[in-house]
């Protein structure tokens, strides 16, 4: 049986007690500071977005020709009607959020010159993706369009 020799008072401690306490308080203060910063940084990221619902009801004009866009006033969506049914294409440019204008069987963006085909695919310019298609539900000649939804391109709905 071996006995470990009792350490001498003069031997250096593995870590001096004062250093340990000092380091511990520094790290505790750092952790508290970090926690406080995270808490403060959390504030500016809104948890609730106070924006109005972007789902709306609209009646298509009876005279709407096939492939002719109908843009409800104040909305950034173009509604179309063809043999397959009704469909809605967003008019928000996927580049930097300008409102595209239907022109020449497609869409033109006024801000940076992107051009989209009739189905929303990019033909020209800086837009990275095609225009979004929104979900439409139809009852009679009334449609409900949800601008927050995205459906696969080509989705048409008939009454």
């Amino acid at each position: 049986m071996t006995t470990t020799p009792r350490p001498s008072r003069l031997d250096p401690e593995p870590m001096p007690r004062r250093d340990f306490l000092g380091l511990a308080s520094i790290w505790a203060a750092a952790a508290a500071g970090l926690f406080a910063i995270v808490g403060m940084a959390r504030l500016p990221k809104a948890a609730v977005l106070a924006s109005p619902s972007r789902k709306f009801r609209v009646t298509l004009p009876a005279s709407l020709a096939e492939g002719e866009p109908f843009i409800p006033p104040g909305r950034s969506v173009a509604l179309f009607k063809d043999a397959g049914g009704v469909y809605a294409i967003s008019t928000l440019c996927t580049h930097l959020g300008c409102i595209v204008k239907p022109a020449g069987g497609g869409f033109d963006c006024p801000c940076h010159g992107s051009r989209f085909a009739a189905d929303g695919t990019v033909v020209k310019g800086p837009a990275p993706t095609a225009l979004a298609w929104h979900r439409v539900t139809v009852s009679g000649d009334t449609c409900v369009v949800d601008e927050d939804s995205v459906v696969p391109a080509g989705t048409r709905v008939s009454a």
Partner: protein, 533 residues
């Protein structure tokens, strides 16, 4: 005028004055009579304009606003070609925006539509409102120009070198904050210009989605959406966005700017004043008037302090030769630059009104929607790829500029315009390359379009990484590397790169400002724009 250092009735500083003879009432009246002089003396301590070198020194370090300066200034720093006063012009313009901005806050209301009406009030109803707003607007523009030119000056005179590397980084921070101040201010009027600039700006913040969408990871990792949400406080540009930009414009960014400016100025002192060439004394020649010795007795305390300070300060190892008292030489020069800056802003504000378009309309974008002029170069790049033009290339440029002082460890040419291997000939060549490459890339892109027009189905990532902006950046980088090899000097490469970026910035800004019309199409003149513009 004879100037005394202290009123004659103060024999020793700090000691109470001798009571004048006579009764209490007479003493009281005597003190009342001496009031103006006594108050001025306690406030200024120096009493009038200084006449000796000793009182000139006292004048500087006895004043909290002036003691930022050294009491003596090197003659090199006072030559107008050394700085052209650009830093002082920048801070002068900032002070003007500070004062006029606070005045505008009396009437401005940061709420959509109401904001626009309050701008109309400021423009048409508030006494001097239109002029104050014009001054604010022009001072902001002058500040941007002055900061850019000041940076170019610091670069071309190689003033970023040791021990000033970190101050160059602080300066880059100031450039970013200045542009941020300008951009956030652009949005406050809530007119069409403002609304569509904020929309485009917020979507540029969101543009990392261009990459994450292409990789299909936006669902799990969406830094772009997070940035946009943080900036707008909502998913739409509305009241939350306006109050955030207002907060940034009047509080966060000015405070950041003041903090950075304080460090910037303090470091100038600590880094030994302005950068000077090694052979500065030979270049300057003998002073026109003999320079008085600064200290009439052997320096004690100051010297001891300086002796224990590590590194290079303005005083260590340098005699006062070729320095002159800061009061009046430096201060009069600074006041002159201040006055010129004020005159410039007031003059511009008299002639040109700050724009105010119609009320913001989320349904109808401006066509063309143009950012402030100094962002139109970026807008030109954004029109090729939102992420690369708006975030990628600016970040590359900022990192590249920030690293220059740490990569260029040479000493040749410090403090001299276009100093370093190659010199002004290299800069002239780089101007040709910079403009030429930018022009060539623009001509190709404007005449023949870009990859998407040639191959419909090209993946977005290809366009993000190969577009006119990145091609131009790559050309500049290759040219700069070639310069490093040819001249066997990092400084040569830095000179070329900085000059190229400057020329590219100027050319793209000109194209964006004058040659882009509706749908961002190219037009030789606005008179060719279609429709009722």
């Amino acid at each position: 005028m004879i100037v005394t250092e202290r009123p004659p009735d103060h024999p020793t500083p700090g000691a109470p004055p001798e009571p004048p003879p006579g009764d209490g009432l007479a003493r009281f009246l005597e003190n009342v009579r001496a009031l103006p002089g006594a108050i001025r003396h306690t406030a200024l301590r120096t009493g009038g304009l200084p006449t000796t070198d000793r009182t000139r020194s006292n004048y500087v370090f006895g004043n909290v606003f002036l003691h930022l300066h050294a009491v003596r200034t090197h003659r090199w720093s006072l030559r107008w070609s050394t700085t052209m006063g650009l830093g002082i012009a920048a801070i002068g313009a900032f002070l003007i925006t500070l004062i006029t901005g606070v005045l505008l806050m009396f009437y401005y209301k940061p709420y959509p539509d109401v904001a626009y009406l309050s701008m109309k009030d400021i423009h048409f109803v508030v006494p001097t409102g239109r002029y104050i707003r014009n001054i604010h607007r022009w001072a902001g523009n002058v500040m941007v120009v002055a900061v850019l030119l000041h940076m170019a000056r610091a670069f071309y005179t190689a003033s970023y070198r040791a021990p000033r590397e970190f101050n160059w980084l602080i300066g880059m921070g100031l450039l970013v904050v200045t542009l941020g101040l300008s951009f956030t201010g652009y949005l406050l009027p809530w007119d069409q210009l403002a609304f569509w600039a904020i929309t485009i700006g917020a979507n540029i913040a969101q543009s990392p989605r261009e990459i994450t969408d292409a990789l299909g990871i936006t669902e799990t990792f969406d830094p772009g959406g997070f940035q946009r949400l943080l900036l707008l406080g909502s998913d739409q540009v509305g009241d939350e966005a306006l109050i955030r930009f207002y907060l940034l414009h009047v509080m966060i960014l000015p405070l950041a700017l003041l903090a950075l400016v304080s460090v910037h100025f303090w470091r100038i002192r600590k880094d030994g004043g302005l950068a000077k060439p090694a052979d500065v004394d030979a270049r300057l020649g003998p002073p026109r008037e003999p320079i008085q010795p600064v200290f009439t007795e052997a320096p004690t305390k100051t010297y001891n302090l300086a002796a224990v300070v590590r590194g290079r300060t303005s005083a260590v190892g340098q005699a006062p030769e070729n320095t002159v008292p800061s009061m009046p030489h430096l201060f009069y020069a600074e006041v002159a630059v201040f006055m010129l800056t004020i005159a410039l802003c007031l003059g511009l504000a008299l002639v040109w009104d700050a724009p105010l378009k119609e009320l913001a309309n989320p349904a109808v974008p401006e066509n063309p929607a143009k950012a402030p002029w100094y962002f139109l170069g970026l807008q030109e790049l954004v029109a090729y790829s939102a992420f690369m033009g708006g975030i990628g290339i600016p970040t590359i440029v900022l990192i590249g500029l920030g690293l220059i002082p740490y990569l260029d460890r040479e000493t040749d040419g410090t403090g001299v315009w276009f100093g370093g291997p190659g010199g002004s000939r290299l800069v002239a060549q780089a101007v040709v390359v910079g403009f030429g490459a930018a022009l060539a890339v623009e001509v190709v892109a404007i005449n023949f379009g870009w990859i998407r027009e040639w191959y419909q189905d090209v993946p977005q990532l290809v366009i993000t990484f190969v577009n006119p902006g990145t091609v131009l950046t790559a050309i500049y980088a290759v040219y700069s590397l070639w310069l490093i090899r040819r001249h066997n000097s990092t400084r040569a490469g830095a000179l070329g790169l900085f000059t190229c970026f400057l020329c590219g910035f100027i050319l793209l800004t000109i194209v964006g400002t004058h040659f882009r019309g509706p749908n961002w199409d190219f037009y030789w003149s606005p008179s060719q724009w279609p429709g009722g513009h």
